[in-house]
Symmetry: C2
Subunit: 119 residues, 2 copies
């Protein structure tokens, strides 16, 4: 018997991560994530300054990121601070890792089949 890999019990289909990938699929939103990640929690106006688009556009981007669970907001006085929320990103990253492993596994199986039936 070939050494059997431990089955991944909570193997949710990759498709469930589509909204997260879609949220990440925009340069400006990736910049926002980076900013929040290295700079800590920031307000909308803070995030807007330094960009060349309007505050409303930034607000929309933050909404998309929040809907995907990548950031969350916390009210403080009259301002609304946004902060990076690492859990969802990490989970999505692991799903990519899993795909890579499945690929290696498929390759190994193919190689085995070829070797055991060369002609």
């Amino acid at each position: 018997m070939s050494p059997r890999r431990k089955p991944n019990l909570k193997a949710r289909p990759l498709q469930v991560h589509a909204p997260v990938f879609a949220a990440l699929g925009d340069e400006m939103r990736l910049r926002l994530i980076t900013a929040l990640c290295v700079g800590g929690a920031m307000s909308i106006t803070q995030l807007t300054s330094g960009t060349d688009i309007s505050r409303q556009a930034i607000t929309k981007h933050l909404s998309v990121l929040a809907a995907a669970g990548l950031v969350r907001d916390v009210r403080r006085g009259r301002e609304r601070l946004w902060e990076f929320e690492p859990t969802q990103l990490e989970e999505t990253r692991r799903s990519l890792e899993l795909i890579g492993r499945q690929w290696e596994h498929a390759l190994a199986k193919l190689k085995f089949a070829v070797e055991s039936n060369p002609h």
Copy 2:
């Protein structure tokens, strides 16, 4: 001195991965990737059967994935086989990993600042 982390020399900004994330941000395309990954190279018609959308739609999705470097095609006779191309996906996965680490690093720095200036 706190133990300094080895600087990541080829630290391309996260934004360069936006097209890859955008390509991954669609359920159907994630299904296609999964299919190619576990099932090996497949033709367009093979990939179309089992879905409820047209062959042309599948072709477009494959083009998007190919443009992002996630799949590649190889002609064989009158059919065109598509196969998963793991390199780009792995690189993108590592960029997510990096973000997570930057976040942890920022947290640690914040904690240090708070502890060394408690009042």
